[in-house]
């Protein structure tokens, strides 16, 4: 009498199929380079890989397209990033800026938006001064190139100063891309006395 091989019980076949499907899924994820699916997940991963600690200060700016521009500040390094939507994944477009001691100026690489008195969003260029002096209450940024000088008032937000430039709405990740060759940052305390000056 010919005998058929003992078939697997149905529940075992189901389990085997599901495990193989999960294994294939893992292999797909591995071969594709382990993408993460969410913006914050990707940003945290990039920060971890750069040995970036918990940020001392976090700033979020509104930029065009409703995209939130984020700046994480720690001692010696600042990370600027914003979400970048891909085909299946949302990645973080992150840039790492090493910082020297003392205050430093970062250029926001996206056109920022800031509501005016009527709540209408106005586009502008934005700059951020990180690691300001503790007692600084005001700051003025002077941007210059060969032809002109241009001053912007700063607003203190937590541990940084934000500068919104409504006159020139260009953007770039470095000063020369914004059309300027040098800058001067002057911090003053609440009485208006100048505490510190930084240039670059």
């Amino acid at each position: 009498m010919k005998e058929k091989r003992t078939p697997w019980p149905r529940w075992a076949k189901i389990l085997r199929n599901l495990l193989l499907a999960v294994l294939l899924g893992f292999m797909m994820w591995d071969v594709w380079g382990h993408p993460t699916f969410f913006y914050m997940e990707d940003l945290r991963r990039r920060e971890r890989r750069a040995l970036f600690p918990e940020p001392e200060a976090v700033v979020e700016l509104n930029t065009i397209g409703g995209v939130k521009y984020r700046i994480d500040v720690a001692e010696g390094m600042a990370v600027t990033s914003y979400p970048l939507r891909g085909d299946f994944f949302t990645n973080a477009n992150a840039s790492f800026h090493s910082l020297e001691e003392g205050p430093a100026l970062l250029c926001v690489s996206r056109t920022a938006e800031r509501p005016d008195e009527f709540g209408q969003p106005l586009t502008c260029a934005a700059y951020v001064a990180v690691h300001p002096p503790e007692d600084a209450a005001g700051a003025v940024l002077t941007l210059s190139n060969e032809s002109a000088e241009h001053m912007v008032e700063g607003i203190r937000e937590g541990d940084v100063f934000l500068f919104y430039d409504h006159e020139y709405a260009t953007t770039g990740s470095a000063l020369h891309m914004m059309g300027f060759s040098s800058y001067e940052l002057e911090f003053s305390d609440k009485d208006g006395n100048s505490i510190c000056q930084v240039s670059g």
């Binding site: 199929n17 599901l18 294939l24 991963r45 040995l51 390094m77």
Partner: protein
């Protein structure tokens, strides 16, 4: 009622098709056995089988379709995953810069093949093995300096001193290698800084190998310090250039 009708009626309440077919086959075989053994006529034989409707009820109650549907679903999931895997491989193959990781195992193979020291030995005038610095841990990474070599090489502007350090790094998260480009926060020697640096890295799973080559060290430098990380994660690796490694 014909035999076929009886069988159809009796199995109609078994909703999952493969089960229904299997039971029908069994009942059909039974009818054949009965016909052979007893030689009864069709009608009489079917009468001894009983009321097909009642049988249908009972069989329907025993053979619930849910496990069958689950099985079909698991087959679909597996087939879908297999198709997706092939499609994904196709998409990756046409992308520029594809690294030919068809299977996860290939990453490990490439990792083991990687020679992080890419310096052409012909350029080396003199080489001295140094005792490697102490291993340290930060941000979930365990960094173990291994081979450390101080070499004098013939550069474009004449001979220069290079320091080569091989790091063996253990990761705490799957496939998240240290981004040496940014993780290295500072380089110092007692007498100035090196003028250039080359880096090379290979990674698979929880392991990473990294090679750093610092070029143009000041001649009178007696030690080199490397800073890894920022803020509370900052760690410094101190390398003594005057010591000699044990043979």
């Amino acid at each position: 009622m014909s035999e076929k009708d009886w069988l159809d009626t009796a199995t109609k309440k078994i909703r999952f098709r493969p089960d229904r077919k299997a039971v029908r086959r069994e009942l059909e075989a039974h009818l054949e056995d009965m016909r052979e053994a007893s030689g009864l006529e069709e009608d009489a034989a079917l009468r001894t089988m009983g009321d097909p409707e009642a049988v249908a009820e009972e069989l329907g109650r025993v053979h619930k379709p849910w496990l069958g549907y689950l099985w079909r679903a698991s087959q679909a999931a597996l087939a879908g995953a297999a198709v997706l895997y092939c499609v994904m491989l196709g998409m990756l193959a046409v992308r520029p810069g594809y690294s030919y990781r068809v299977l996860p195992g290939m990453g490990l193979y490439n990792y083991l093949q990687t020679d992080v020291d890419m310096l052409d030995p012909a350029c080396v005038i003199e080489a001295r093995e140094l005792p490697p610095g102490a291993a340290f841990e930060t941000g979930g990474y365990t960094i173990r300096p291994e081979r450390t070599v101080l070499r004098q090489v013939s550069g474009t502007d004449g001979p220069q001193w290079n320091l080569y350090i091989e790091l063996d790094i253990t990761l705490s998260r799957w496939e998240e290698p240290l981004d040496y480009w940014f993780a290295l926060s500072g380089v110092r020697t007692g007498a100035g800084t090196p003028c250039g640096m080359h880096r090379m890295s290979a990674c698979w799973g929880f392991w990473q190998k990294c090679g750093l080559e610092f070029e143009g060290l000041p001649e009178d430098a007696e030690w080199v310090e490397l800073d890894f990380g920022y803020g509370q994660l900052r760690r410094t690796l101190h390398i003594d250039l005057t010591e000699e490694a044990e043979a």
